[in-house]
Symmetry: C2
Subunit: 336 residues, 2 copies
DNA sequence: TATCGTCGTGAAAAGGTTTTCTTCCTGTCG
DNA sequence: CGACAGGAAGAAAACCTTTTCACGACGATA
């Protein structure tokens, strides 16, 4: 049904090879023939079959982007940033959502490889759980970790210095609340590399005595609901700390809502911080102090790493670490 | 490099055809051969080349999903719902983001078609602007409009009854604010079909005298920033209405923030409604009264329509209209 | 003028599958 | 005991491009 190269060749009365050459501009061809080909192609509404092209060229100009959860605005933002960067290098982006599900992630990522993508950018769902799937795929296709990474997989990584981010938060808290403020961490179980890094950084800071937290961290998921739930438990137990350090903005937003419902005033009664600086952080009441991840730089770095990997596969994997930035808003604006 | 069907055939000492048959289970083959093939395939780590398969079969089992903006949580949710439904029919979903950009949308959607997707679900950026691209693609590939639609394009459509949604809102306002309350619409320019439908429904309700709104609607974009800006202007002009009817939740969230910053109390001083019921609507202060779109039903309907279209192409296009639901929260909880 | 190099074009192979068609073998029925 | 039906496996075509290779013509140089 759809016109093929052959149809164009027939109509323009040239060979298939010539049509291909005209349309791809690979070699010089007689201008007269060229224009004949072009009009023929236009008249037929010819469109190259990308499957056939990919098969022949062994290259599709597609890169896949796998995120753990589109519904998380941080990843939605990341997707957008990455898409933008890849568009510039004339590549098609294939977005894929793992929905925080290991099986689905494996399916999705191997499927991408099977479809012959030239490279994959991946923020794995779990540091350990995603490792085998990631390793398998990385053996077939250039793969770069983005934001999160998987354990024991030799691959380039572009991520943000979580330790630095946590340090920025805690130093800020020490500043506004006084030395060694009592704090509590509400975050996600350290299944993914980012959650782990944040937990560890926080734990280390506690050991170093930067803040005071005798209680164990409250670990659930990176969701609004978990933020709500954690705060509900915390308030029910009584004796809340001076500051709530939330593992990401979603948790913080949930926490703020739960505190508000219970009549606990922020920042007067308790101070709250987030992590990521998603768009809604400014809308929270009060607006959320948080750590902004350099989305654009992250995307740029990851795509750069991937481009280089696709160009010359041999070189040893590199890890790029970007510095985040503290964004101070009203949720920590105590007046002492 | 990657092992091919040929390699498997060589190792199992059978023909290519047999390997293909075993791996696809299309015909009965001798169990002994079958197991030889299977072990050979396993040992080599064989993976079918989906490009080649698609080329030969003229079918890829992929459907594309094009949304106008992933960063809009409504569409993020829609993507998730659709993905889930399509996964069940053993299809791969290709997510694509048009970033509210007509050129990009055209590129993305034609690229999907070029890649041989079996069908496309699309929420077009603009009712008129997307029409030509949509029509072109619809001529090549089964296409179903989802949520939004494009003008004068013959295609199945699964959408939500916006008129009904607006009616629910306005009736509710009349109930809580008294008959013919003074209202003002803040929404997006009627570029896309949904924005237009909401505007028209509102305008009609004004004409019918359900609410009282002499001033022209404030039309910008479906964004938080526009909500903020519109309220800023509104307050600066003085004489705000009793109720703000926002075209979607993002606008409403922006409006709530702006009102809060200016010390205008919601719902006491002014009442605010949204549309979509995105996750963050419950987190707003106060929680937002809004119209919930039946995301799951929408996804189910759209995928059904697409499946049928892909099965028997001939039948005339159908339009399915789903009913939304009013979710009443504190932003309209006036006590009179 | 003869030869070499260059440039532009067509023929054909290759890329990896699926599927039709052919062939061969076995088993059954007449 | 022979012929035919039926099932299973292999050979080859087809899907649509790109790209290598070969070929012929032309211009330039010796």
């Amino acid at each position: 049904m759809a016109p093929t190269l052959r149809d164009v060749a027939l109509r323009a009365e040239v060979s298939l090879a010539t049509v291909s050459r005209v349309l791809n501009g690979s070699t010089r061809v007689d201008p007269a023939l060229a224009s004949r080909v072009r009009t023929a192609a236009d008249e037929l509404g010819y469109r190259a079959n990308l499957l056939a092209r990919g098969l022949r060229r062994q290259r599709t100009d597609i890169v896949g982007l796998v995120v753990p959860q589109v519904a998380n605005p941080f990843f939605a933002g990341l997707m957008q940033a990455v898409s933008r960067h890849l568009q510039q290098s004339a590549r098609t982006v294939l977005l894929a959502d793992a929905e925080e599900d290991l099986d689905l992630e494996r399916q999705v990522i191997t499927r991408l490889a099977d479809h012959g993508v030239d490279g994959i950018l991946c923020a794995p769902v779990s540091e350990r759980g995603s490792a085998v799937a990631a390793a398998e795929v990385a053996a077939r296709v250039p793969l770069v970790f983005l934001d999160r990474s998987a354990a024991d997989v030799e691959a380039d990584t572009a991520s943000v210095d979580q330790r630095c981010g946590i340090a920025l938060v805690l130093e800020h808290l020490a500043e506004v609340c006084g030395a060694r403020p009592s704090t509590r961490l509400i975050s996600a179980s350290p299944v993914d590399s980012v959650a782990r890094a944040r937990c560890e950084a926080y734990a280390d800071a506690v050991i170093e005595g930067l803040v005071d937290d005798a209680a164990p961290p409250l670990l659930g998921e990176f969701t609004v609901d978990w933020g709500r739930e954690a705060v509900a438990g915390l308030i029910a137990d009584g004796a809340p700390p001076q500051a709530l350090v939330c593992g990401n903005d979603l948790i913080a937003l949930g926490a703020l809502a739960a505190l508000g419902e219970r009549g606990v005033r922020v920042p007067d009664d308790i101070v709250v911080t987030g992590f990521d600086d998603v768009g809604f952080a400014t809308l929270a009441v009060p607006p959320l102090t948080t750590v902004r991840q350099p989305l654009d730089a992250l995307a740029a770095t990851a795509t750069d790493l991937l481009e280089q990997r696709m160009a010359n596969g041999g070189c040893p994997p590199r890890c790029e670490l970007l510095r985040p930035e503290l964004i101070i808003r009203a949720s920590t604006a105590v007046t002492r």
